[in-house]
Structure formats: C-alpha cells, structure tokens
Symmetry: C2
C-alpha cells in the first residue's frame, strides 16, 4: 500500500480536468545538470550502475524534487533497458551515447529476437516500487519506455545515428524483417510498461524519440502502428486507479491528428509546434505536454520567465496542459534556470486562471 497522493495536478491535467496551476515536470529532470546527480553517478561508477541499483535510482529520481516544486517524478532509467534485456548488451561510455554489443541487421539476428523474460528487468520494477515509497505521495510517479520504432533504431544502428541509414536501409529493403522486430518490440514494451504499472507507476509515457526521422507513410506503418499495438495491451487501471498514457514523438507535430487518434490521454510535443494551433486541432480529446525549447534555459531568469509565459499563453487557460520542455534538459543547464522556470509556470498559470475566472 502506497501513501495517498498529495499533489495530483499532473494526473488531473492528463484527464483534462481543471487544476489550480499548470503542472510542470521536465524530461531528464534527474540528470547531469545537477551536481548532486553527478556525485551519485561518480559513486555508482557508470550509468548502468546507477540505473540497476534500486537505492541509487531512487536517490537520483528524487533529487530534482528536493530542489524544485515539480508536479511529477519520472523513473530514473533509460529507454534502452528492453533491448538490453533481449541480450544486446547495452553500455554507456562517459560522455558518449548508448552502445549495443550486438546489433540486429540480418535475418539470423532477427530470428533470435524474442520478448525478454521480465525477470531480467526486475531492477526497474524494484526501482519503481522503491521510488513510489520514497515519494510518499508527494507527486505521481511516471513510468516509461522507448517506442518500438525508437528501440529498433538503436538495435539496428547499434547506437545513436545522424542519418538512420542502417535502420532505414533494413526498413526499405526488408520490411518483413522490420515488421518482425517491431512486433517483438511492441509486445516487449507492453509487458514492460504493465510490470511498471504493477510495481507502482501512476502514469506511463512512450518516447518515440526517433519517429520524426521517418518519411510520411513510413511513420504510420513502422512507428505509429506499433505504438498503437503497445497501447492496446496496456492496463487501463491498477489498484483502483486509472493509469493514463502519454505518447511523445519528437518531430511529430506534422502528424498530430493521427497521433491524437491513438488511445492515449496525453501527447508530448516538441517546441516546433505552436500549442495554440495544436490545441485547436485536438480539442479536448487529449492533454498536451510541452513544449519549451530547452535552450531557453541558457538565457536570464527574466527571459526564461517571458518564454515560459509565452508557452502557457499559447495553450490558453483551458484544462489539459502539462508544462514540459520539448526535449530532455541539457546537461549544461544552470540549475538556477530550472528554479526560475518552475516558479514562472506556477505563478503565471495561476494568474491566467484568475483572469479567465476559471
């Protein structure tokens, strides 16, 4: 049994219910821009050392909440835990992106893929329960996973890429193999998120970080369809509580109408999309999460304030907005910038509600 929730603005906003202020949390809010995070990571020795240790994962998840009055916590983990559990061997060299020891580029490698034993991801579910206990009802805990397509990008490329040449070559030349990878990924992600829900996650988010690199047509066939397959398998509720979902496709603004047709409660948007136009298009159907450019946090507190107000004003004084960045916070961000941002979002969104006599 977990403690009752004291601040449910995030969950209410996801349900498009009125809130006193616009809830705010930041993608990668537990991360390298915080000196206390860097200290814990140094102790843990490596990123995976941090992510696989329940105590460390709990500690770093809560660090930003000690500094800032954020309205949600997100599990400290990585989007690539699932392919790691499939046996691909994930590692992070300091200052570099993720790397897989094994890549999936041919028929033989695809034939070996299977939905992993969820026991291999026990460390994630343990972390979820531990974090939920440590939060003690302060704010809701978000669980997450990479999308089937985004996982496939890393599994085929073997790491990050700037042209997605290998994964797209496979997709265009052997669509049958790509569909096979994506089906396995989708069923794995669904099992993974359901286990996070059972462990205590109060909302789940699917990061389609690389959906936006696909061509129109290919996006619908290779990314959106498999996000849909995940959503169809997710638990709707647990322990008497609804478990809302958020889908974030970086660069997905162009396909907003199609993404809004998914069985999701919220859609994450990057900074290229005007929130006012986005809201006009989706109406009350889904909540919108976003969408400040993380680089705004390199400006002065006054300028951060002005840009945050602009994002809030563009959405307007309707229910259904969760303030966030349009992408993960930069490791170079001055921590004081986040203080200014969270303060501005809470203050201005309260004032908007007054003005709108909401």
């Amino acid at each position: 049994m977990f403690a009752p929730l004291q601040n449910d603005t995030f969950l209410r906003a996801l349900r498009r219910q009125p809130t006193e202020h616009t809830p705010v949390w930041l993608m990668r809010q537990a991360g390298r821009y915080l000196p206390e995070y860097r200290a814990t990571r140094a102790t843990a020795g490596s990123f995976m050392g941090l992510a696989t240790n329940t105590d460390y994962a709990t500690e770093v998840t809560l660090q930003p909440l000690e500094r800032y009055p954020l309205d949600a916590a997100i599990l400290f983990s990585d989007i690539l835990t699932v392919p790691d559990a499939m046996g691909l061997g994930l590692s992070f060299a300091l200052g570099e992106g993720p790397k897989f020891a094994k890549v999936v580029r041919d028929e033989a490698a695809v034939a070996e893929l299977a939905v992993p034993d969820m026991d291999k991801l026990r460390y994630v579910f343990d972390a979820v329960t531990s974090i939920r206990n440590a939060l003690n009802g302060r704010v809701p805990l978000i669980g997450f996973s990479g999308s089937p397509w985004t996982l496939a990008c890393y599994m085929v490329e073997g790491g990050g890429s700037d042209d997605y040449r290998r994964v797209k070559s496979l997709m265009y030349s052997r669509p049958d193999l790509m569909h096979r990878i994506l089906a396995i990924n989708a069923d794995s992600v669904a099992a993974y998120l359901n286990a996070q829900i059972e462990a205590g996650a109060q909302a789940v988010m699917i990061f389609d970080s690389w959906g936006g690199v696909l061509a129109d047509g290919a996006f619908q066939e290779f990314s959106l369809a498999y996000t849909r397959r995940v959503l169809a398998q997710l638990k709707r509720e647990h322990d008497g509580a609804q478990i809302p979902r958020i889908v974030f496709t970086k660069g997905g603004g162009i396909w907003l109408d199609e993404i809004a047709d998914l069985d999701t409660d919220g859609i994450g948007l990057d900074w290229t999309m005007d929130l006012g136009k986005a809201r006009e298009r989706v109406g009350h159907k889904v909540a919108l999460q976003g969408n400040l450019d993380p680089n705004v946090l390199f400006a002065s507190p006054e300028q951060i304030d002005a840009q945050a107000c602009r994002v809030l004003d563009r959405f307007g004084a309707h229910p259904g907005h969760i303030f966030n960045l349009g992408h993960g916070i930069s490791q170079f961000t001055p921590p004081e910038s986040v203080t200014a941002l969270v303060e501005a979002v809470h203050r201005h969104s309260r004032a908007m509600r007054m003005d709108a006599s909401f």
Copy 2:
C-alpha cells in the same frame, strides 16, 4: 551570351506550367557517392581546393549529368562561402563537417561583421559562368546560398551542432545581437545570389537547413523574416529571363503555410511531409520540390521504383512538382540507385500525364 536551353522542364515546373515529365535533380548530386567526384577531390587536395578552382568546380558539377538524365544542374559550392568571405576562415577536414577558425559569440565579434566584398567570392561567380558555358544549354543551372539563420548557426557554433546550444543561447539571451547578425547575413546573401544571377544562374535556392530546429515563434522571427529580407532584394529577371527562387527549410513542413506566403516560386520539402496534403494547402501558389527519403536509395531498384512512384502519386498529375530527395544524397549511396530513381521518375511521371490525359 549563353547557348539556348534545350531542357526547360525544371523552369517550367517551377512556374507551375505543364511539362512532359516531372523534372528531377538531387540535392548534393555532385558529391562523394560518385567515384569520379572522389578522384577529382583527391587531385584538388581539399574540399575548398575543389570549390575555389573554376575548372574543378565545373568538372564536378557536370559529373552527375554525364551519368544520369537529370533535369537541372546545381553549382558545386558550399553554403558557408559567405561567412568565409566575412573572414571567419572556413575549412573542411576529410570526413568531418565544416569548421570556422573564428566564431561570433559576443558583442565585439558581432560589431566586426559586415557584408563582405563580393570580390572575395569571385571564384563562385567565375564557376557559375564556367559551368553555364560548359552546360551549353543542356539543363538550367541553379545557384544557391545558405539562409541567414543557417549561416548564423555555423558562425556562432563554429561548426555543426546537435543541440544548437550556443546559437540559441545567444538568440534567447541577446536577441539584439542575433538580429544584427541576421540582418548582415541577409544583405550578404542577397548580394551573393544577385551576383550568381548576373554570372549566369538561371534559378536560385536558399537552403534553410537549420530553420527546423527553431521553436515556433522563433522560426518566424529569426529565420523566416530574414529569408524574406533576402527574397525582397533578389533580381526578378536577368538578360530577359525570369529567375525563379526556391526556399528549402528542412523540418519546415509544420510551417508550410507561412513559408508559402514568401515571395518564392518553389518550396523544398523534406520527406516527413505528405506531398498530397502539402499541395492541398498551397494549391497552385508555389511549386513543390521533393521529397524522397535519401535512405530509399539503399534498397533494391524495384523498391526505389515503388517509393519514387509513391512520391509522384502523392503529388498527383498536376503541374508544379520537381522531384528531389528530402535532403542531400548520402555519400554511401550506390550510384546505380540513382539510375533507377531517375528512370522511375521520368517513366512514371510520363505515364501519369497520359492517364490524366493532361
């Protein structure tokens, strides 16, 4: 006096006039995927050695036309010649992106910036005239430049970037300095493109390669406004011929309506935008250029054919389509793939016109 044009399908398509087939050319068609290009570059010693030598620039511009029945040629050069002429010191290490010896990040550096003496870019204009002569009327020659914003990205970052942290930090914290840079860039680009037109360019294209990384609002203020400032200064005609313009904003599909309001004849689109929807939105107002994912060229000839037909079909049998990739061709592309692509575009677009009894 130049020879009369034998194949004007590209220019007619830009004017939204009927053509017998859909004209096709490829961004970076003269480039590293061609062994003959690599041979010339090895002789020249460096990229800038190639670009600044009239004979080499002419030779490599014509290389793809010897292999493929392309409908346009594009000046072999780089988008960063203008900041180089401003004294920033452009270089390319083999296998790496561009680098500037000097960067523009503070008030003092901005104060030193000025529209460069066009004589420093004489090598570009000489190349234009030489290429135009060498083409001998086969196909039209396109001149080009980076957009003011895209040039500013490189000038502030000092090279490529994956987060645009420095240029956006300057933009958000010192918008006055950024506007000053952009105004100088716009006037420089206009002078540069006008000199290319005088030297023989029959159309000009502005590459806003990094416009798509901007937030909504910032895009309009820092990219679009300065592209407009360039267009307002461009010669409409030269030597009795109209000189059409194309604006390409990578990731700009989301702002298509606003881009289509520019005084431009054509808009380049990347592969994320459905050409059918794009055409519905812009109607007959502008021509559309694009938009195959360059990674399709790693698939089989049959699959390349199918994907090329899909792009043509999405646009439909209307005048005003110029077939292209949605981004520059990859250096790893098999040259035979381009043979298959150009053949497919010409064959299928002719057949479409028959079917539509156009």
